[in-house]
Each structure stands twice: as C-alpha cells, then as structure tokens.
Symmetry: C4
Subunit: 202 residues, 4 copies
C-alpha cells in the first residue's frame, strides 16, 4: 500500500463511503449506478478513497473503493470512475476532506432554468452552508458539462463561489464538498433542499 | 442537576426527542442539521429538554439533549441552539408541553406566496388540530424571520392564532406545539399536510 | 364477547388492521391520527373490527381495535371513530369485507378540481379495480363532506358507481372497499395511483 | 421440470425476482398488484422465470414465480400474467436476459404528452443506458396500448430503438430490458429518472 495508507485505512474509508452512498441512494439521488463519493486520506501526497465505478450505490461494501492520487489515477483497488480526477481536483482546490457527487432531478432542472447560476437569498437554510440567512445573495454556480475532466475542473475552478461549497453541472448533477464526509453530507442535503425550494416556488 | 430534574429524566427526554427527530428526518423535514425539538420537564421554574445543536437529526442519541431554562440558556448538557430561547417562549406563552421546529419546503413556499397568513377552510384534516371541518376559516399565521429570538418571539406572540397551534416563519420553516411530544408530532403532520394540499391546489 | 366472535378473533383482526395501517401511514396517507380501517367479522349480524380512534396509524397494536355493530356502535373494545358507522354502512351496502379510509393530498385536490366526479379512461391500471383498460370511461364519484354519518352514507349510497369500489369525500379523503383487507389495500393503491396520474397530467 | 431447468434453478430465480420486485414496489412503481419481472433461464429453447400474477409485488416469495416458454405459456408453476408473452418476445427480440415492467406515473404522463416518442439529449444520465451525454438525441419510443400481446409485441418490435433498452406503453407503463436483472434494474432507474426530469422541466 502507498506510504502511510494501510489496507485497513482504505477499508474503513470504504465502509464510511458505503454508508453515505446508501443514504443518498435511499433519497433517489444515485439512480442506476450514478454518482460517486470520496474522502481524502492523505494531503501530501494527495490520496483519496473514491467509490468504485459501476456498482449500485445502495449496495456498496467496504471493499468497493479505490485509492486514487491527485490525478485521479488508481493507486490501489479496482477501476475508479473517470470523475475521480474531478474529486481529486476539488479536494486540492478547496481543501475539502470529502466530495459528494449526486444526480438529482432538482439540480439538473434548476441548472437548465438558470444556466448563469442559481441565486438564493433570505432563506434560513443558507446558514446550513455557513452563509447569512438575511440580506445577502448567495449564488450556486452552474457550469457546462464535459467528458473531459480537465475541462470540467477548469470550469469548476473558474466558476467556484467561495461562499458556496457546491457547483451544479448542467445536464448532469451536483458536486458538493466539506471538511469530512458528514459535513459534505449535510451541505449536500442543504443545497438540494434549496434547489427543491426554488423548484416549488417556480 | 437542577432541582427535581434528574440525569435520568433528561436521558429519557433525550430518548423521546431522538425518536421524534428521526421520524421527522425520515420525511426530509430536517435536512442538514436543521430544526430542533423540545419537551417541557418543569413548569415552575420553566425547564425544557431541547435537542443539541449541530447534530444530524436522524442520528441523535438520548445524550444529544440540553436542559435549558425559560430564557433558553443551558442549565445542563452541551450547547443548545439559539432557537432554544424561542422554544422556551412558545412553551411559556401557549402552555404547550412540547415544541417542534422543522424546515419543510411546503411551509417556506406557502409562506412566500401568502405572507399575510395561510387560510384553511372546509377541510376535514382541520379536525386534527381541533378545529371544525366546515364553514370556519382558520388562519395559519406567517411571521417574518429574524436572528433575534426576542424579536422573533414578539412576532410570534403578536401573530399567534389561538385556533392554530403553529406558525410559519417566512423563509425559514414551521413551529408547532402540543401538550406532549406525540400531540406536537400529530399537529405537525396535520399542518404540513394542509400546506402540501394548498401547494397541490395552487 | 358477541356470539361467535372471540377475543382471539378480534385480536387477529386487530393485527391485520395494524399492519395495513402501518403500510398506509408509511405512504403519508394517514398523517396525524387520520383515517381508519375495518374488516367484517360477521355478516348476520353485521360486526366489524375497526381501528380505534385517536391513535397514530403507524403505531397501532393488535389491541387498538374496536368491535362495532351495523350502526357503528361499539360492542367490544374502546371508542370507535364516528366514521365506524360509515364503514358499517359501506360493508352492508356493497357486501365488502374490508373498508379503507385514508386522507391523501391527491384525492382532496382532485375532488376539489372535479367535484362532479373524476373520469378515468384508457388506462391499464383500471384493470386493477376490475375495469377494462380501453374505451370505457369509469367515474370515481365525489360526494360532499358531512359530519353526519347518516347524511354522508346517503350521499355515498346515491353517488356510488358499481364499477368503482371507491368514493372521494370532498375536502376530506378517500373511501375504498374490497372483499378482504388485501383487496381493499390493492384497490386503494390503484385508485390513489389513478388520482396521482390525473394530478400529474393536469 | 423442463430439460435443464431444475426446481432449484426456478426457486433461485424466484428469489432474485422477489427481491427486485420488492425494490420497485418500495418506489411506488408496482401499486396494487401491477407490473411483472422476468429473467431468462434458457435460450434454446427460450425459457423464462416470470413473477406470478395477482400477488402484491412487495411481498413475493421465491415460490411466486412461473416458468414460461417462448410464447409465454406456463411450463411450471402457477398462472403467469398474460404479459408473460410480451416478456418472452422482448427477450427473443433483444437478446435481453431480464425484463422489467412497471407502472410509473411519470412514464404514463410523458407518454400522454409526447405520444410520438420522448427525446432526450445532453443529459449525463444517458450514459447509464450506454448512450453519449452530449450532442446525440436518443428517443424513448411510445407505443399504443393493447390487450393483444401479439399486437403489442408487433408494435414494440416496430418502434424499438436499438439505442434505448426501453419502451413506454401509452396509458400503461414502462418496459425495460437488460443483460441480467441487475442491469435491467439500473436501466429502469435511469429511464424513470430521465422521465421524471422531463416532467419537472415541463
């Protein structure tokens, strides 16, 4: 195994990611085998545990995890999703310890309606991502989709709003990041709730 | 521990609140770590058990509870939510034995559409909050949001409709109260159902 | 106990009704303590087991059941819902062995939009209530609500469509009946699905 | 038992189909006793295990399965659904190893709105059915409903789009197929998600 990451470390990370995935899958946010989750195991060098590609996200086991480097290349385990590269980039760029990528109907619909970014304001739930509940507009960026992870990462880096730990990828879904898997989970729930509110408001 | 409230009392209250929270969380009404629940343990002096701040509301344990006084200040346990002050005020004002605060999309959407209050009439479900099913209009008040709990409490006190054990806080969510946690649960479900009905009716 | 109905019979009926109630409650169709279910235990004289009033419909035990006669009056057990009288009348009128009464948002919304009755046609799901999937219009009657069970029963009797084992009570909810609790469950699911389809179609 | 299919084979197939059915039923896609699932057990001659007709699809046991031939006629077990004939035809026509038929509100609503076929384009989720996420329009065919399985099969054969392992039957529901029950499940979830997206977008 790489440097300081033991097989046991990777297994434990896999167990956490499996539990988080099952939670998101139960909400219908990871239909088919869509989406993927990651957690940072080492900063220097950057190493992340990422959910393995092609599995049902409601049925992952602790073994369904891949260790990838800062370029998203597999260091240990099976085949990572191509999107592992973007997870690594988000972690490097934002300092996040965990990244969530889900496919929700609300995020794709709102990205379609407001391709220039989705503005929230005067909603208490904004406090759930560390923003004020009053008088401040917070924009969730929307970026164009791409199969080129370098290109997608450039767009994310350029569009990223430091006030909002998330980005909508148009026609695709949602990326959210936090200090650890639990915070990333809560940020994901908060951002999705805000999107569902906008959908209901029209 | 304070006067007559034992650690065992607080633990038992925590167990009840954890179960109620898990129920509301399963409905998607407590996304992120939003919302909080309380139960009155003593009337004179007023003492309430309130769910601890910052936790996932689907994963509370009996220990994730704080004992607060009539000003919402912690008497025992960790850090209460700032909203504990409003819970205490609702309990003092209404005589309720339990208070529920949840963040639902329907309540925020309807509060946005009808900022002057949401009127219900001729719906059998009104009997679920003790009102007649026919010929009487019952208004669910909507109050403006605030981070100042004193101000929010003043608004609630002024707007409160004695026929309706609930208030919508605009851009925020729903406060509901009842004689005990079970009644508060049922009133919450009834009020949310009424709001979802209004949303579906448009 | 009455004639041939033993305490064991009533307990077994209570267990079936508790399981069916928990199922409907999990769908959000019995919020608060709304709705009630019944099963016929004797035809002559007519005797039904009806869920007890005031309980959470997701938490009933086999003991939360009342034996009522053809007028809905309690023969054994606690306090029946006033609506027990209507359950008994539906059983007498239709020959049904089980009656389901739930409060669904779709039924109240559609009853509001189409107070003269809701027509379905050319939908395969109609076969789920024994009707043809093609070329025949089947109307789900809508009747005005009342707190007088005699009046409500008269309206149901007059409006009843022999092709449809269900009636919408405007501003109230749905009554559905079948040969036994399982068939009543399936008819309820089918009728609710048809109502949700109409809602989605607009 | 037929040729190489043992009672144990059929029982194991029944267990898989029961689990898949319970999953779809939990999503509300098999209300009443609607829908049916199948898995191919032999290619030459064509033999499929199909869920038995008339049962609650959330409560199937491994025994609630019928072995049918290429015409959908029962070889072993109880009474198959009339739709077993269409399952067999889909398996023969497409080479699929598993077929899913569910009744979803989204599929019937979208089939009603776009009777000429539902076009998807520029959605990442299309990759979940093996299609490109960009620049290519993929059409989900919609065919008219029929009670004549031969006629329905002819329509499906004529309308079928080799790029899309699914067909909407107007006023009825969704047929989806895959190499095995798991792939058929994932394709079903992906197609349903795409339909729900179109519904939300309007």
């Amino acid at each position: 195994m790489t440097a300081d990451i033991t097989a046991q470390d990777l297994h434990e990370a896999g167990a956490v990611l499996a539990a988080e995935s099952a939670r998101f899958a139960s909400f219908g946010w990871m239909r088919g085998t869509s989406g993927n989750l990651s957690v940072v195991l080492s900063r220097e060098p950057l190493l992340l545990a990422v959910t393995a590609s092609g599995h049902d996200k409601g049925e992952l086991t602790p073994a369904d995890v891949v260790l990838v480097d800062g370029q998203g290349a597999a260091v240990q385990g099976g085949k990572p999703s191509a999107e592992a590269e973007l997870h690594a980039r988000v972690a490097a760029l934002t300092g996040a310890g965990a990244v969530v990528h889900v496919h929700t109907v609300a995020s794709v619909t709102m990205g379609h309606r407001q391709p220039g970014g989705i503005a929230f304001r005067d909603v208490e739930m904004l406090k759930g991502v560390g923003q004020p509940a009053h008088d401040v507009e917070v924009v969730l960026p929307v970026i164009a989709n791409s199969q080129d992870m370098k290109e997608l990462g450039d767009r994310l880096e350029e569009a990223r709003n430091p006030l909002m730990p998330a980005v909508v990828v148009a026609g695709h879904g949602l990326y959210v990041w936090g200090a650890d898997p639990r915070q990333a989970r809560h940020y994901t729930e908060v951002v999705e709730w805000l999107l569902e509110l906008e959908l209901a408001r029209r």
